[in-house]
Amino acid sequence: MAGLLSSSPANKAEASIVEGRVGLLLLPSWVVIGILLVVPVLIMFVYSFLTQDFRGGVIWTFTLEAYDQFFLDRGLFGDEPPQIEWTYLLIFWRSFIQALFAMIFCLLIGFPTAYFMATSPPQSRSMLLFLVTIPYWVNLLIRTVSMKFLIRDTGPINEWLLAMGMIDEPIRMINTAFAVQLGLFYSYLPFMVLPIYASIERYNFVLSEAAADLYTGRWSTLFRVVIPSVKPGIIAGCILVFIPSLGAFLAPDLLGGAKNFMIGSLVEEQFKGQAGDWPFGAAVSMILLTIIMGILLVYARNQTQSTSRGH
């Protein structure tokens, strides 16, 4: 991902000089990536083409059944003519929309926050950074459960509103889509703030002054000068929020009441639930992986095109 984001020519030149010398030094990283990333993904890939063993496990016979189950609906009893299976597409769609909204909200709040932090006096910057990270010293599960306490019908928010006479009965927040969005937003906000902060901190504000000297309005400066300059940070932030939100199931389960499967909980159910359909769980993961790879590739290609056009 770092490669995608740091594509300025200076970086490239530096990288090629260093590459030869430290190639061997990178070996440990490659081994770790190989064992902890490539091998598990390969196992998943292979399992997704195997036959389901009842109640978990696989039988070593090749089949496309898992993918067939994902895309084709043959009715509850498997005897109807195949149609497009909407069940899983709907689950994917819901997860994608939810992740997209989480990303947008994080960006809307995260960008001004990062801008404020990066433009405040250097001595208070480290303090602000520190404040952003404090809540994340606590485990995600605990933070999510605490959120649940806050927003439930008998929680402090509703109690306060009731006591102030602003509402007559508690506002239903827990077990709603709103609660899930709130949970995702809150969980991943710093992943948006920190990369943007890093970009803005490096941004040369002389450019903004120059724009102002040339009678550019404030909004125009923001959109035509600042944002293009800090774009790598924004994109890194968006990717860092979008992808974990996509697989998240803590917030949907604890705050949303687990009423609908998310991609994450659908996969979990295949391995942990009664179904015990490992090949299908693996196939769902492979499909998700393919979609995300596709998105990142399209992005990377656009990025290289726009850089080469720029020079």
């Binding site: 009842f54 109640r55 978990g56 496990g57 509850l76 009893f77 069940t87 899983y88 709907l90 689950i91 439930r152 019908d153 008998t154 239903r172 827990i174 077990n175 009441g257 687990a258 009423k259 609908n260 499967f261 659908l266 159910e269 391995f271 942990k272 639930g273 009664q274 179904a275 015990g276 359909d277």
Partner: protein, 344 residues
Amino acid sequence: MRKFTKLMAAATMVLATGQAVAAEKLSIYHWFEYIPQELLNKFTAETGIEVVMDTYDSNEAMLANLKAGALGSYDVAVPGDYMVKIMAGEGMLDSYSPSELKNFGNIEDKWLNVDFDNGRKHSIPYQWGSTSFSVDTNVYSGDINTTGIIFNPPSELQGKVNVLDTAGETLVLASIHMGFPQCSTDKAQLKALSQMLDGAKKHWASFNSDGAKDVLVSGDASAGMIWNGFGAKARAEKASLKYAYPKEGYIVWMDNVVLLKDAPNRAAALKFMDFLLEPENAAAVTNYARYAAGVKGVAPYLDPELAEARENNPPADAPSGVFVQVCDQATQSLYDAIWTRLKK
């Protein structure tokens, strides 16, 4: 040379302690919040065997973990009735002979020849109880002894119902509600079941198993499926909760301590099973978990409250509960599909 000798000595010591620890360790794979720590301490004090425990929140999660390679790292597990049968069928259980347990005779007669382990070759009773639901009587004051509370809730309870997030028990209770047999392969029945669930889901607040008590106590839900002992604990925290014995029927279950295949320390596992068959210890689990032990002679050690608790004493007019049945693969996949459709 001296250095080498020292090294050897150190290595031998490490090996020796390693062995000593291994010989004195018992690994339990158990449900969450199901055994008091004091009881484990007592076992260690009596036998010198150190206890290590991992927990799970559903029978299926335990099976999945054991199948994924954890078999061989635990000595005992505590599966429910139908899961004992499944695990025995998968060859995941070791067997013992009654002579290996000096307290074997303490098992209550009615739990000796059970359908899921006839004659008790792999398992001993741990606790048994029922699965039904509790209702907050401050919110709903009508008759709670019907499965309609969950699957066709009265207006006071709509949007305030929690169901267990496990396909097994929730779908069996739904079948009981419809009057259908378990493991049905009848197309019309399964379609009706699926439709009924889709309609009922509109009135549900959440699917939650390990928080089944918490959602009721906090008021997030005013009616919720729950295990009887968990229901008793909920009532202790909120007196207006009442456990239901629906007239259509409900689920009974028994959790059992099983001897796992390839147990690292079979002898310790048998000692632990013997320990749990001591009436005093079985009663300690019951007092903690609020279910019932399947062991003779526990009465003098039980918390007197349990003798009166509604959760442990079905009223005279309540029907008897049914055990969850084990379906074959083809049938099970239909129920899995219904569950997935319900949660899509």
